[in-house]
């Protein structure tokens, strides 16, 4: 995993775990990498991974089974999408809106382009 230079590392690790769950690499009720395994794989401090896991626990994306480790939570898929959606709306959408406003792009044009994009990317 490549770290970007402006986002907090524990959040980048959270995004990495969420992606694994969305892509089905880690399924509901499956064990996720232990704090130590994840720290070694990503070459980061185990306390940073612990912070990530605490965050994901508070979002009900993973759950801690005492003494055994962390598992993908029951409603993880819904909760991952909620979490990523909130992040997208708060962080990325304002940048898009700013450009839409500055470049005077109409909603009609935006809608056409969006539909074309979805068609080309997801329904080949």
């Amino acid at each position: 995993m490549e770290f970007r230079d402006n986002k907090a590392i524990y959040l980048q690790i959270a995004a990495y775990v969420c992606e694994h769950i969305l892509l089905g690499k880690w399924k509901v009720d499956e064990k996720v990498s232990s704090v130590r395994e994840m720290a070694v794989a990503l070459e980061v401090n185990p306390n940073t991974v612990m912070r990530t896991y605490e965050l994901l626990q508070s979002k009900n994306i993973i759950s801690n089974k005492r003494g055994i480790g962390f598992f993908v939570a029951e409603n993880a898929l819904v909760n991952v999408k909620d979490y990523l959606k909130t992040q997208f709306i708060e962080e990325e959408l304002p940048v898009v809106f700013r450009n839409v406003y500055l470049l005077n792009i109409g909603f009609d044009e935006l809608e056409t382009r969006y539909n074309t994009f979805v068609k080309e990317t997801f329904n080949p």
Partner: protein, 275 residues
């Protein structure tokens, strides 16, 4: 784990390097010790390991005064110095002569670390390259299972793959009962590995804070223009890399180099933020 109280230290009585330096370190952390050349990073580490003696003040490491150099403490300290000497023997002879001083020495772990670092076992230590020697003493040091691990510029001399291996090994070496202190100038080698920053400047501790505390209180980001909120900034391709108070609880990635320069340049603005 470590309590330092009003430490005064100087290599000469007339010129003190540390004046009333106080600080506490606890287990379960990797501390990154930063400072300019000559700020006293190595000297502080040597004080902790009982290799130099303070003028006054108290130093408590695992309940011992390191200056007394009691074996019960020394067997719990692993010190990887920046400059070291290794004798003209092979690794097994070196281990035979030295491992006995560390009752918790883990031979299989040592062998595994040597393999991970790709060290030729049959060669005499003296004929190895600087980087290889360094990897041998790092492996030996970690295999002692000491509670306090002190490393002075450990990534100096390591090649690119070895640096990644080193980070993986250190990530797995941190346990709840261990305290790891790493001094470095190569902040990019270690910036995701350390969880607490200690910065020495002007005879004392200029900053000691966890990465979490730093990024709660400060935000590191690119800005187009500098306004009066900016504490410190450096020009970059697209505007400035700036440090500002974190008024809006933004999450940003700690930029250690920028923080380092900010502490040196704007100590008075940063002090009240961290009091």
């Amino acid at each position: 784990m470590i309590k330092i109280n009003n430490l005064n230290f100087g290599y000469s009585k007339h010129q003190l390097l540390f004046k009333n330096l106080s600080m506490q370190l606890s287990n379960g952390h990797i501390y990154g010790l930063l400072g300019k050349n000559g700020a006293g990073k190595s000297t502080l580490l040597k004080n902790l390991a009982g290799l130099v003696y303070a003028e006054s003040g108290t130093l408590d490491v695992l309940g011992f005064n390191p200056a007394k150099r009691q074996p019960a403490l020394l067997e719990q300290i692993c010190f990887i110095p920046e400059e070291f000497y290794l004798p003209s023997v092979k690794i097994d002879a070196y281990v035979k002569a030295n491992a006995a001083f560390y009752p918790n020495f883990d031979h299989p772990y040592f062998t595994a670390l040597l393999a991970e670092f790709d060290i030729p076992v049959g060669q005499k230590l003296i004929n190895m390259s600087y980087g290889q020697k360094k990897k041998v003493i790092i492996a030996f040091g970690l295999a002692t299972n000491a509670k306090l691990i002190i490393m002075d510029e450990p990534t100096n001399g390591l090649d690119i793959p070895s640096k990644a291996q080193f980070r993986k090994i250190m990530a797995s070496a941190l346990t709840e009962d261990r305290c790891i202190i790493i001094s470095t100038h190569q902040v990019r080698d270690l910036d995701n590995l350390i969880d607490t920053v200690i910065m020495l400047d002007e005879n004392s501790v200029a900053l000691k804070a966890s990465v979490e505390e730093i990024t709660n209180k400060l935000v590191f980001k690119r800005v187009k223009e500098i306004d009066d909120k900016v504490i410190y900034a450096e020009p970059s391709l697209a505007g400035y890399n700036a440090v500002m108070p974190n008024f809006h609880q933004e999450d940003s990635k700690l930029d250690l180099e920028l923080l380092f320069n900010a502490v040196l340049a704007e100590k008075n603005k940063l002090k009240p933020i961290f009091n």
